[in-house]
Subunit: 601 residues, 2 copies
């Protein structure tokens, strides 16, 4: 059975040393985030996820969820007990506002818990995970009555939430949804329609489920400007907060799918279900994006998560399994063969994983810090700048993070050779589970267009220019330094490729927007490479300072610097190839009509 | 349910127009390979695979194989009947020698049947597929008595064969095997040991199974120089060819695995089973490589196969599914949305698949032609040159073909969005089935080392120099041409990267062999890019000539040229990045010791 240890030392490195969270103590919410508190959260969350959730990961995959004839759904054995432990431990409340029963810690801390949970058991983590998005939407767009009625219970995980967007005929293009919302005399709505792919749509973990549902009111515009968001509880909630009647909605079936079997992916039928509008009529898309943006960063972290657990297990296997001899001569001549760890091609895959996961952890938590700053910084200017940065980075975290996370999982499975293909070793589950993250919450193609079509152009390109200026500043500061200088030079080349690609878009996308679409996915990857590279430069800088100060933890910091060097050697060269692909434009890509794609017998 | 149409038009293009098989009519075996014969084989094989095998692909995945308490194994519903049809149609005999009941057609033709079968149903195709390797070994190393006794039945698919290499503690490093072979007075051996991952090790398709088993004779050297190959029938064969006693071997269990569920992956227990040595004592590795090389090209074709079927279905979906609008304005304004085919990111994935599958088909069949020439050319010089070329290309076909095939499958699944993750659509099965091809018959890391550690150095680098000369000649001939010139220039850049990488290996691998190991996987990919690029240049040249001659089939040839342009635009830039990674060497890759890979809590 695969194992999982929460990488708490690395998380503490990011929180205490790289981000230096304590230095933000003047921000509201951060005053209580002292290192002793954050270390305790990190260590205890890690322990909980490793001890309670990880052992259920393979069980959940094998058993899956069961829908009964009455529409009820049973989660895999052990999930219910583990969820009870989750509720009691309060891990869902970490970064939620104290006003609703949360612990009020920075968003960064909540993301750490999200990472550990998704790493230990992604299918389980999705039950409370989707709730986070629903909570954000209610918190930002709900009225005070709705907030008071639902948020405390949802934050306490007494009730869970869902996001109902997709319908059989539409996913990305939400303007096409058909679910109807008929206004009632009492101010509520009757919701009728079918939603598909609803993660955690029905289950036995909580006594109520709060569905947030996109629907159209009568006469609404026939586009994405005509959708509204509704809160539709599984069980109606009385004014005193007790549970009332069962609402007219049900799980019609559970999808059979490639992975995340422990999570119930439901077809949800709304048959005149009672619902209440969240926010304004026809402004559902904006509310939906609030859910989405929270969810997208969480999904990016899932890419990291599956890569992390696959990596940990592949390391164990590579040190244990003996095949062949080191190319440089037997490493352990007294044994019949050397551990496969000695083979460069195995080491390549392990280093790739290490270089990705550590930087991705840093980038996602740094992104979380931007969210905190965007909410809490003293000045509007600081808040707006942080908001621009995280808006720009969100599609990169999601798109690059999950593309690369899946690739790492595939490589870690490869380390196992034939055993990687066998179910009991658990590696193939990581690949199957990781695969969904490239698809849901907006496919990675949608992320690429969000980045290139919307975010690059935001405020006349202000965000991307600020990103460039930030990376430039780090590079400039590192240049000339014996250790950091060479790293900075390699990063500078990659950044140069990104700048050139950006310029190419500016010059070529106006005349033909397909030139943007044709290069968007490549651009998202260049930006991922540069953003993770920035994290490596910064991590190497921290490590260098610690070593200079004579730290006891020499091996840890030396490994950071060596991994930074590996990253620059093996990740940054792709930026040039990606730029060349972007500059090839859309001509040869779009040249052929549909008849050229038919298979001719 | 996914569908499959055999791409017979494209195969005929390769066979008749690109390879011009008829022009080899002076070679033995080719005289009967006239276009009317080869076209008939292509068309009928395609029909058989599409009509008989493809409909069982999803069934096989869902049902899997069942092992009963007596060790017998039942294949999925329909497999037995389909196999009967396969036997009767004689598809397994196409390129086998007439002396043993084969049709004596060129090897190329057998590979076409292999492609179609693997595309329609990989799990099914593996039952006869493994037999091909066993047949090659017996044909080349068996004695006349063994050949007469087993080959006709195996070629007729009355009996199937297997390859038994892997043991629980060793796969790649076969010198470590523990299966013993005790010589008996009658010249036979008693085989005792456990083999794992034996594809088609037990099943209900044929009344006998001929296992080829690697084992060690008493006192054999404790290395790969001490292994011998044995023929161990499931049911002993009497001298008159009738079946006798059941041999003492059995299937201990079937592995649960990620995919290819329709094929029984068996643990095989040999308990003093009667076997006969194939070839010489302690020369089993050489015999094994004969099986392996045949199998490796077949596995490379599996990469193409899964990519092809995934591509065909993704095209259908992309034309059917409507979401959003073309970036250049509505393509079908009368509809609510445009087909997703209009979106550049979808087209990118489809064009990538098209550019890969068509060139991979050309390359694998061109490789098959080299095998034929290596067997049948008039002069030893021609035979040896063709043998060098296919030896060099085999790891590239297997390693690059399956890496890229898996990537294409993943992308085709991505085209489906959320539906790609759902079992019933069938796309996720293609990904799971494609995954094994990167692992078995030598992991792709082993292929990379075979290429860089053995094949590059063969005869002082003669093979790679001949490859360079061949590509150079095609580039030189194309230069200056309006259509072909630009393609040739792009290919020349990629070839330049490969040459530089080769040179770097020569200068840096002697002092530190890890420099070779660290770049081997990247090098295999550069060479895959160049080799497929050569096929595109040649296909474009054929297409150009056909267009110039006023062909009726204008659209087909124009699509070839457009796809060649896409290939050069989007595949060749990676060669430069890969070279830079190779030139980074092994230093940062191997810098860290095992303690740096431990997860620290």
């Amino acid at each position: 059975m695969p194992s999982y240890i929460a990488p708490t030392r690395d998380t503490r490195f990011v929180v205490n040393e790289l981000l230096d969270l304590a230095s933000y103590g003047n921000l509201p919410g951060f005053e209580s985030a002292t290192p002793d508190i954050t270390d305790a959260v990190i260590n205890e969350a890690g322990k909980f996820c490793a001890e309670v959730l990880a052992p259920l990961n393979q069980v959940g995959d094998h058993e899956g969820c069961t829908r009964h004839d009455d529409g009820s759904v049973t989660t895999p054995a052990g999930f219910k007990e583990a969820f009870k432990a989750y509720q009691e431990s309060g891990w869902g409340t970490v970064s939620q506002p104290e006003a609703y029963g949360g612990q009020g810690l920075p968003h960064v801390m909540g993301l750490i818990v999200e990472e550990y949970m998704a790493t230990a058991n992604q299918a389980f983590a999705m039950y409370p995970g989707l709730t986070t998005g629903a909570v954000s939407a209610i918190m930002s767009k709900g009225n005070p009555e709705q907030q008071a009625k639902y948020l405390p219970k949802m934050i306490a995980a007494e009730w869970l939430g869902t996001m109902n967007l997709t319908e059989p005929h539409c996913g990305t293009d939400l303007g096409m949804i058909r679910t109807r919302a008929e206004p009632q005399a009492d101010g509520s709505y009757e919701i009728t329609g079918t939603k598909i792919f609803i993660s955690a749509g029905e289950h036995d973990l909580t006594e109520n489920i709060i569905h947030l549902v996109l629907a159209k009111t009568p006469g609404a515009p026939d586009s994405s400007k005509g959708i509204s968001l509704f809160l539709v509880p599984k069980v109606l909630v009385n004014d005193d907060g007790t549970l009332g009647e069962r609402n007219s909605l049900s799980c019609g079936s559970i999808e059979e799918k490639m992975g995340i079997h422990g999570n119930a992916t439901c077809v949800m039928n709304y048959d005149g279900a009672k619902g209440w509008m969240i926010g304004e009529e026809n402004k559902g898309l904006a509310a939906m994006f609030i859910m989405m943006n929270a969810a997208r960063i969480g999904v990016g972290i899932q890419g990291l998560a599956q890569a992390e657990v696959a990596y940990q297990n592949a390391v164990t296997y590579a040190l244990d399994r003996r095949q062949g001899r080191a190319l440089t001569g037997p490493a352990e001549p007294e044994e019949k063969a050397d551990p496969i760890f000695v083979h460069p091609d195995v080491r390549r895959m392990l280093m790739d994983a290490k270089a990705f996961t550590e930087a991705m952890r840093a980038l996602s938590l740094w992104g979380g810090l931007q969210i905190d700053i965007s909410h809490s910084a003293a000045t509007e200017e600081e808040r707006a700048a942080a908001d621009r940065m995280i808006s720009l980075l969100t599609p990169v975290l999601k798109g690059y993070g999950t593309d690369k996370g899946y690739e790492v999982c595939t490589n870690m499975q490869q380390v196992y050779g034939g055993h990687g293909y066998i179910t009991e070793w658990g590696m193939e589950q990581f690949v199957r589970d990781a695969r969904i993250a490239m698809i849901y919450e907006g496919t990675n193609g949608v992320q690429a267009m969000d980045l290139c079509g919307r975010k690059l152009a935001m405020n006349g390109g202000q965000a991307i220019q600020e990103f460039f200026a930030m990376v430039d500043a780090d590079i400039a500061a590192a240049k000339g330094d014996e250790v950091l200088g060479p790293l900075a030079e390699q990063l500078e080349k990659a950044l140069g490729q990104q700048k050139a690609a950006t310029m190419w878009f500016m010059q070529n996308a106006m005349t033909n927007p397909n030139n943007l679409g044709a290069g968007a996915h490549h651009y998202m990857h260049i930006m991922g490479i540069v953003a993770l590279g920035l994290m490596w430069l910064r991590m190497a800088k921290v490590a260098q300072a610690k070593l200079a100060a004579g730290s006891d933890d020499k091996a840890f910091y030396e490994a950071k610097i060596a991994t930074a060097r590996y990253y620059m050697d093996r990740f940054t060269p792709d930026a040039g190839a990606l730029r060349r692909k972007i500059e090839a434009g859309s001509e040869s890509m779009m040249a052929l009509g549909e008849e050229a794609f038919a298979t001719l017998a």
